[in-house]
């Protein structure tokens, strides 16, 4: 993995490649912020294991995810002082099935359970009022398709980075292709797994956190996609129109994973 030439700003945002054809902000004023969370595989393991039957030990989870993070650091030329938002995650074997159904019946309830475990005074809500079956699929070649195939057969561990901020959905898709095939654009499976692992990723009392798109997936609507978003101290899953625009509120996940 090598991506010499990528540039991060002081807040850990990957600056958009000059070749992007779709809109992304050249610079960020960093108005929407993730809370200050450490990379904490031990804490994540505890939360994951309260929701999923996890098939590896805490030590193995810590070691595997630290190893993935370390490889990402080398690949992206990150030094130890560079602050990036990174969350370790675990996804159990999902077997065959429609991605929308897996999201609705397995992953979203798991996010809800983990959120309630960590933040019992607040709520996670699926605000999308219709069944998800048939409304969601991985985009070929952007990484989430590989993840979807992988979890049909075995669990995976991975790390999701939130370095793509203030990119339009289409620009994030372009940028991930530039990063190369070791990186995937997060979608339904990895983002939901991230919120099981770190349900307070968007819980911020002092600042507004960003919205995270499932941009590694496409939906049955041209200008809309699914996302996770905070509402005050609460978390919601929903669908929203993105108008093919860029907004400083918008973020996307970049994932590296390994089957186990």
């Amino acid at each position: 993995m090598s991506n010499a030439g990528v540039v991060f700003d002081a807040k850990g945002r990957l600056e958009p490649d000059d070749a992007l054809k779709n809109p992304a902000h050249l610079k960020s004023r960093n108005y929407f912020k993730f809370p200050d969370l450490e990379f904490d595989p031990k804490g994540c393991y505890k939360r994951i294991s309260s929701v999923f039957d996890i098939s590896l030990s805490e030590d193995d989870f810590v070691s595997e995810t630290k190893d993935i993070l370390s490889q990402i650091g080398v690949s992206l030329g990150l030094d130890d002082t560079q602050k990036i938002v990174a969350v370790p995650f675990y996804t159990p074997k999902m077997g065959e099935g429609d991605l929308g159904e897996i999201l609705e019946n397995t992953l979203i309830p798991a996010v809800g359970k983990s959120y309630k475990n960590l933040l019992p005074d607040y709520e996670f809500k699926n605000e999308f009022p219709h069944p998800l079956k048939g409304h969601l699929e991985s985009i070929s070649g952007l990484g989430h398709d590989r993840l979807e195939t992988a979890v049909k057969n075995s669990p995976v561990v991975g790390v999701c980075l939130f370095v793509l901020r203030e990119y339009s959905v289409h620009a994030a898709r372009e940028q991930i292709e530039i990063l190369g095939e070791d990186f995937g654009l997060a979608g339904a499976i990895d983002l939901s797994s991230v919120f099981v692992s770190q349900p307070n990723l968007l819980f911020h009392k002092d600042e507004y956190p960003p919205l995270i798109w499932m941009s590694g997936c496409q939906t049955s609507w041209d200008h809309a996609n699914f996302h996770y978003e905070a509402y005050g101290y609460n978390l919601m899953f929903n669908r929203r129109v993105h108008y093919d625009q860029v907004a400083e509120y918008w973020a996307h996940g970049v994932t590296c994973f390994k089957s186990i």
């Binding site: 004023r29 507004y208 200008h223 978003e229 093919d244 907004a247 509120y249």
Partner: protein, 372 residues
């Protein structure tokens, strides 16, 4: 299932809301169809803002926080300024109504000033066309007795939005600088109920108020009466420009978000029946000033164009292209974002006549790191 059908079976609607929508459908099916189609419009990537119409700024109150103060004759007189810009007339309103209808827009709010002191109020309602658009009027409640409420209903007004700034009588009267105004609001509540007018009460949230017993009592009163309480964040504009201490912080907004679970209370940021706009600039609301300028929210005094010169469709498109107002954001741009508040104050301070014309405030090549 179309959105129209979906609404009929939408279990997320309260029984009261479903009844109101059913009643509207029986009386005004054209409007009911347009309202029901809003979800489809948004799903297709289009927008459907409410149009606030400020035909006149005449008002019998002088409130501490009035956002329209700088548009009023009394303020222009102080500044020794004459507003000689062309004003919207009934033909302009009819044309605005036609363009709005063509775009599928369905809702007009008559505001001001105090709408119920306008001599041509009925003519304005007719020009909007209450058979094509859902018509709402703002009011401070002073002139809203039962006779007036029945009259409003008879000319096609569907809903009243009345201001109540404290549940403590003296505080409301003091904030509104009008003794007796609190009692007039309570009379107005009863008058709307008698006349079958939909009603929401509106109140201004200043810093710290969300934590007070008074605010909680007001929320409880509205919930008990089945009347929605619309909470507007205080903005440092108009006569509140010199009150930066009014501006709320995120904690105030988050307390309100938690109270929405318990009471019939909402702000312009509140998710509503499947619609989650966040800041509603352009996407959820626009204001047409008396000079025909269109601003993206009642509290932003910078225009995206003049409806007497530029098609409404193009003005909305400008707003949606703008990096401040177009894309979705979860906070209130003019009520919470310090950089925008500063930009707005700096730009508007240079102009005696508001709003600031397009190109001098908002512009084609706007950017988020712009300094006024």
């Amino acid at each position: 299932m179309s959105s129209t059908e979906a609404l009929m079976f939408d279990k997320s609607l309260t029984a009261g809301e479903a009844k109101k929508r059913g009643d509207l459908r029986n009386r005004k099916p054209y409007i009911a169809d347009k309202l029901a189609a809003i979800a489809d419009i948004e799903e297709a990537g289009e927008i459907s803002p409410i149009i606030r119409l400020e035909k006149s700024y005449l008002c019998n109150f002088q409130c501490t926080h009035c956002s329209a103060e700088y548009y009023m004759d009394r303020d222009l007189k102080k500044k020794e300024t004459i507003d000689d810009r062309p004003k919207i007339d009934m033909d302009a309103i009819r044309e605005l109504s036609r363009q709005a209808d063509e775009l599928g827009l369905a809702r007009f709010v008559i505001t001001g000033g105090e709408p119920l002191v306008m001599r041509d109020f009925d003519e304005v309602v007719a020009a909007i066309d209450p058979d094509k658009h859902y018509v709402i009027t703002d009011t401070n409640g002073w002139f809203l007795d039962e006779v007036r409420a029945f009259h409003l209903k008879s000319i096609g007004v569907e809903k009243v939005q009345m201001s109540l700034d404290s549940f403590v009588e003296e505080e409301h009267n003091s904030f509104r600088n009008k003794p007796g105004s609190y009692q007039r609001v309570l009379r107005g509540v009863d008058a709307c109920a008698a006349a079958g007018l939909n009603l929401i009460l509106s109140t201004v949230l200043i810093n710290g108020r969300a934590k007070t017993k008074e605010f909680r009592d007001l929320c409880q009163y509205c919930t008990d009466r089945g009347v929605g309480l619309y909470v507007s964040y205080a903005k440092p504009v108009g006569s509140a420009t010199d009150h930066p201490e009014f501006v709320i912080d995120k904690e105030d907004a988050d307390i309100l978000r938690e109270m929405e679970k318990e009471f019939l209370v909402f702000s312009h940021m509140t998710p509503s029946y499947g619609s989650y706009k966040g800041c509603i600039t352009v996407k959820g609301i626009i204001t047409v000033t008396s000079s025909g300028e269109i601003t993206p929210c009642p509290y932003i005094d910078m225009s995206f164009g003049n409806v007497m010169e530029t098609p409404l469709k193009e003005i909305l498109a400008r707003g949606m292209r703008n990096p401040w107002t177009g894309p979705h954001r979860p906070d209130c741009l003019i009520g919470e974002d310090p950089a925008f508040i500063n930009l707005h104050q700096t730009v508007t301070a240079k102009h005696k006549l508001l709003p600031v014309p397009y190109g001098e405030g908002f512009k084609d090549d706007d950017s988020l790191d712009r300094i006024a």
